[in-house]
Amino acid sequence: MTTMNTTTEAAVSKPAKLTSKQLPKATPWIVAVASILVAIVISFIAFGGFNIPVVAVLAGLINAIAVFAVSASYEGRRKAVDRIATTIVTSTFVLACVPLISLLWLTVSKGGAAISGDLLTRTMLGMKGVLDQQYVAGEATLAGGFYHAIVGTVLITLAACVISIPIGVLTAIYLVEYSNKNRLGKAITFLVDVMTGIPSIVAGLFAFALFSTIANVLLPGAAGIAKTGFTAAVALSVLMIPIVVRNTEEILRLVPMDLREASYALGVPKWKTIVKIVLPTSVSGILSGVTIAIARVIGETAPIMVTAGFAKTLNWNLFSGWMSTLPTFIYDSQLRPVSPGAAALASSERAWAAALVLVALVMVLNLLARIIAKVLAPKAGR
C-alpha cells in the first residue's frame, strides 16, 4: 500500500513526457550533403582526383556513420539504429537503380546513334567485311540490317502464342473450375511451378532433341532439318505455358463465386458459364498476363539459337530453314562480327541498334499489359 502511494507520488511529481527528443526533419539531408563534401575532399587528398565510384562509396559510409553518431548523441540509441537501417535500406534501392539507368542510357545512346530506317528494312544478305571496313574508315554508311530478325521474332513469337495460349488458358480453367483440388490438379500445379524454373536453354535443347528425333525417324541422317522457326516456337512455348497458366489461374480464382452460382441458378450449363461469365469477367487479366508472357519470351536468346540457328537472310517459312530473331541477331553480331578487328565496331553498332528495338518492344509490351489490365477491367459495382 505504501509502495503504491510512493510510486504514484513520484509519477505526479515528475510528469511523464509523451514525446522524446527528435532531430529536425532536415537533419538527414544536411548530414548527407556534408558527407558527400567530405568524401570529395578525401578523394582529392587520397586518390589525387575526383573519382565517382570512390566518392559514392565513401559518401555512403561517412553518411551512415555520421547519421548514427548525430542521432545516437541526441535521440538515443534505438532511434539511431532506426535511422541507420532506414539509410541502408534506402541506399539498396538507389544502388539497384544505378545498373538500370546505366543500361537504359547505354542502350538509348549507343543504339540511338546507330539506328536508321535502313537498318530496319534491310537484311544481312550479301554482307561483306569490306563494307564494314569502309564504314569504320568513314567512306560509307552502315550496311546491313535486321529486317529478317524482326520478321523472325514476330513469326516465332506468334507461333509460340498459338501453341501456348490455348494450352495455358485451358489448363488454368481445368485447375480452377474442374480439378476440385484433386490429385491430378495438385500434380499439374506443382509441375507448372517446376516448369517455370526450367532454364531457357534446356527448353531449347528439348525442342531440338524432340524434332531431331522425329527427323531421324522420318529421314535418317537428316537431323539438320530439325532447326526451324517452328522448333524455336515449341521451345518458347515450353517457357511460355507455365507463365500463362499461372497468370490465368490467379485471375480466374479472383472471379467471385457468386457470379458462377447466379449463372448456375439460372440453369446455364457449366461450360457456358465458364465461356460466357467467367472468361469475360477475367478477360483483362488473362490478356495482360498473356502480354507479360509474350514480353518475357520475346527476349529469349538461348532457346532460339539452339533451335533456329542464325539466319542472315529473310525467311518467312516457319517450317523450313534457319531463322533469326532480334536476340540471336544481337548475340551473333556482337560475338561473331562480320569483319574482325577494328571493323567489328560496325557489327557492334548493329547489335546495339537491334538491342534498342528489342528493349523498346519489351517496354511497349509491358506497358500494353498494364493498359489492358486497366481498360478492359470489369466495371466496378455501382
Binding site: D82, P99, I167, T171, L184, L205, A209, G267, V275
Partner: protein
C-alpha cells in the same frame, strides 16, 4: 428448348425430382441434389481442359525423355571408350568443372543479390512514401523485363571498367584464393571474368527475389505491425520483430527460386565470360558454366559433341529441378503451417 439447370434443386416431395425434368422451375432450396446434369458441351469442354492439363505433364516428361534419348551416344561412348569425350577423360571429368563453375557463379550472384533484394522489398513495402511505392516497384520490375542478351551486351561494354577494381582487389585481398592474381601479378585485361558475369547475374535475379519477398512482406498481418508500433517500437524494430520473422520462410524460398534462375541463366554469362579451365581465382579469366558452355559450342556442334552438350543440358535440368522443387517444398510446408 428446355431450360436446363446445372444443379437441379428439388425437394424430395416436389414433383419430378429427377434431374432430367428441367422444365420445372427450381423448387424451394430446402435440399440440394448433388448430381448435376452433364451435357455434350460440358463433356467436350471439360475434356479439352483436362487434355491441356495432361499435356503439361507430358511436356515435362518429354523434356527429360528426349534429352535422355539424345544423350544415348554420350552414354555409350562413356561406357565403351571414355577418351572420345571432350577432354579425353570421360564425361564426368568433363562436366564437373562446369558444374562447379555454375554453382560458384550462382552462389556469388545470390550473395550479392539477396541483401539488396531484401532492402528493396522492405523499402517499397514499409519505408517509401505510400503513393510512390507502386511506381518504385515498377522500376524494379523493369529490371526483370530487360532481355538477358541486352544484359550481356551491357556487361561486355562495361566489363573493361572493372579491371581497376579487380587489380585493387587482388592487391589487397589477393591472399583470399578467389581474388588471387595470376602468376605474374596481373588480372584479366578485359574484365570478362566469372566475377563480372556473376555480378551481372546478380542484377538479373534481383527483381525476381525482390518481387517474391515483396509479396511476402505485404502479407505481414497488419495488426502485428501496428501492435509493435503502438508499444513504442521504432519502424526498424517493428520490421525486425513483425515483418522479418513472418517472412522468413518466404525469403528462403524466394532466394532459392533466384538461385534456380541464376543456375540456368545463359546469355549474360555466355557473352561476358571468356571461358577457360576451372580456376579458383575469379578475377583472372577462366572458368565456365554449364549453360554458357552449351550456348558457346552448340551452333558448331555435331555428332558426339552435340550429344555431349545435350547431356550437359540434362545435368543442368536435374540441378535446377532439384533446387526449384526444394524451394516449392519450403513454400508448401510453411503455407500449411501458416493457415
Amino acid at each position: 428448348m428446355p431450360i436446363s439447370t446445372q444443379t437441379t434443386e428439388s425437394g424430395p416431395t416436389g414433383p419430378g425430382s429427377t434431374p432430367e425434368s428441367g422444365q420445372k422451375p427450381p423448387q424451394s432450396p430446402a435440399t440440394r441434389q448433388q448430381k448435376a446434369v452433364v451435357r455434350p458441351g460440358d463433356r467436350i469442354f471439360s475434356a479439352a481442359t483436362l487434355i491441356a492439363g495432361i499435356l503439361i505433364l507430358v511436356i515435362l516428361a518429354g523434356v527429360a525423355l528426349f534429352l535422355l534419348a539424345q544423350s544415348k551416344d554420350t552414354i555409350t561412348a562413356q561406357i565403351s571408350d571414355p577418351s572420345q569425350i571432350t577432354g579425353g577423360k570421360g564425361f564426368f571429368s568433363y562436366v564437373w568443372p562446369l558444374v562447379i563453375g555454375t554453382l560458384i557463379s550462382a552462389a556469388i550472384a545470390l550473395i550479392v543479390a539477396t541483401p539488396f533484394s531484401l532492402g528493396i522489398a522492405l523499402f517499397t513495402t514499409h519505408m517509401a512514401p505510400r503513393k510512390l511505392a507502386p511506381v518504385l516497384g515498377y522500376v524494379i520490375d523493369l529490371l526483370a523485363a530487360i532481355p538477358s542478351v541486352v544484359y550481356g551486351l551491357w556487361g561486355i561494354a562495361l566489363a573493361g571498367n572493372l579491371t581497376g577494381f579487380y587489380l585493387w582487389l587482388s592487391k589487397w585481398f589477393g591472399w583470399i584464393p578467389i581474388f588471387a592474381p595470376a602468376a605474374d601479378g596481373s588480372v584479366s585485361q578485359t574484365g570478362r571474368t566469372l566475377l563480372t558475369a556473376s555480378l551481372v547475374l546478380s542484377i538479373m535475379i534481383l527483381p525476381i527475389i525482390t518481387s517474391l519477398t515483396r509479396e511476402i512482406f505485404l502479407q505481414t498481418p497488419r495488426l502485428q505491425e501496428e501492435a509493435a508500433l503502438a508499444l513504442g517500437a521504432t519502424r526498424w524494430e517493428m520490421i525486425r520483430m513483425a515483418v522479418l520473422p513472418f517472412g522468413k520462410s518466404g525469403i528462403v524460398s524466394a532466394t532459392m527460386l533466384g538461385l534456380g534462375r541464376a543456375l540456368g541463366e545463359t546469355m549474360a554469362v555466355a557473352m561476358i565470360l571468356s571461358p577457360g579451365v576451372l580456376t579458383a581465382s575469379l578475377v583472372v579469366s577462366g572458368n565456365q558454366t554449364i549453360a554458357s558452355e552449351i550456348a558457346q559450342n552448340f551452333p558448331e556442334a555435331a555428332g558426339l559433341r552435340l550429344s555431349e552438350l545435350i547431356t550437359v543440358g540434362l545435368v543442368l535440368f536435374v540441378i535446377t529441378l532439384l533446387v526449384n522443387m526444394g524451394a516449392r517444398a519450403i513454400v508448401a510446408r510453411t503455407s500449411v503451417k501458416g493457415s
